[in-house]
Amino acid sequence: MSPLMSLSDLRVEFDTRHGRVTALSGISLDVMPGETLGIVGESGCGKSITALAMMGLIPNPPGHVTGGVIEFDGEDITRASNRRLRQLRGRDIAMIFQEPMTSLNPVFTVGDQIAEAILLHQDMSRAEADRQVIELLETVGIPEPEARAKSYPHQLSGGMRQRVMIAMAISCRPKLLIADEPTTALDVTVQAQIFDLMRDIQAKFGVAIVLITHDMGAIAEMTDRVAVMYAGRVIEQGTSDQILDTPLHPYTRGLIGCIPVLGRAAASTDRLPPLAEIPGVVPPLHLLGDGCAFAERCALADDHCRAVRPPLDDKGHPVACHHAGEIA
């Protein structure tokens, strides 16, 4: 099976006041039709920029795609015209964002905003579009869809707004749905509702999902495969079980070990053991050197790590570490 979306050696740079910095330095990723790929990492690792790159929405200025290829359904969209990109956006590739509170335009009704996407990509009368809006709102589980279509965003709760965003995203039956931290701003019960909805929609329409998150729990629950990112690179990649059960990169291990796992030893009256720590912080992009970007925080790092950047090699699954699998 050929991938639906494929990034190869993608480079994205940004102009900042520290000069030009590399936000993505040679990312390669495949998204297969109908699967859910998770992209996980701390803030500043480049996961949201990867998502925007897939949409062709890197803000320019200050961003520039300076190398690599983005292929969607076999078509190189790095070379596609703006017109072609606009055709794909919203119709074949759709996106939902982190902040449902600010992602909808406050001066239009939610019905109008969904209808706008429908009318843009489908040959349909306004009345038909309106009917479809109601249907979509029903699909995403919004009660009283007729009344809600006439609501403005501020009249809806955060969870409802994220449902509206999802309705808008699936309005043209896209092949790929990119979800950038879709539940970070929401309460946990609402997060669960949104995740359940995304799963239902995937089952119903067969849409492939790219889920961007910092939450390993969400990765476990939602994804088939995972790419772990650090400082603008993919440092480990594999099936979700591979990554969660046999992580090879010390960073991935740290990320998993530092989470207080809910439900583990729930009935134990003993104190839970201390969490694993990753010392230090993610280095700023303009201070990245030649070696492994994680070396500064890594207990396994040696001079070789600081001098030579490890390539992404298959060591059971792809991992970019000179000491993959070793334990400190």
Partner: protein, 325 residues
Amino acid sequence: MTTPLLSARKLEVSFEIGRKGFFGKPRLLRAVRGVDFDLMPGRTLGLVGESGSGKTTTAMAAIRLAPSTGGSVSFEGTDLMTLPAEAMRAQRKHLQVIFQDPYSSLNPRERVGAIVREPLDLMNVGDPAGRDDRVRELFGLVGLRPDQMSLFPHQFSGGQRQRISIARALATNPRLIVCDEPVSALDVAIQAQILNLLRRLQDEFGLSYLFISHDLGVVQFICDDIAVMYLGEIVEYADRPTLFSKPRHPYTAVLLEAAPSLLRRKSAGYRRAGMVKGDLPSPMNLPKGCAFASRCPKAQERCRAEAPVLRDVGDSRVACHFPLD
């Protein structure tokens, strides 16, 4: 049995929000509705809930950083609610706070050394000359270098700022620290550093924490006792093993079901057993019966008619007519 360090009885907080019409009655939002809790010395009591549950308001009202409209709170036998302003100010030496947002909880115009020193100055702790030594000691305790004392907050990362916040809270050797979602604004890797630090400090100084969080994983890691809040009320109150292994209130069960966990795998065909529908009802017009009834999978006629009160069920205290086994 030891006496609690901090205990609240029938704590109430209401806000006036707007009026209906020009001369209408002010509308009341009841943010905290009759909350009771006891925090034992050396232990950590977690207040858990989603946004709108009133957990932060409860804690802030308990130490009089937010006005309460009813009830009493006693701290080491002193009723804080009736204390005159000056006496309350003196008590603050013993009750400190660590805030949620590392970016807005430190005054950007002050050097961090001065920020940590300020409580010592305001509370007249120790002699002025010794205070600098104390600040240096505190920096060491929270894992910062004393030479960083002259820097400004914006020169630190989020995790470091939270350490500064902790140092400030520790300065006066308080007995109680209110931790208001101290790690929820941090990246997971940094979260672990801070959680471990908080626990180490507790062991070292015998601190008691009132710990507010929405993250059940964090609560399970750090808390000894837990109060689950929903719309301004405690719906379940139990110690950690009891709550996490045997949730009695349907809302607690729902929270546990909703929170993502590494143990639930898509690859293993995980499907959520069932989830509440809809959103929180408006706190402006609360239902007559149980506040959770409108979303509860187990709600019955009685739940909508009659509000349940907190009562003993097994090892827990639960406010539910039909608690889970």
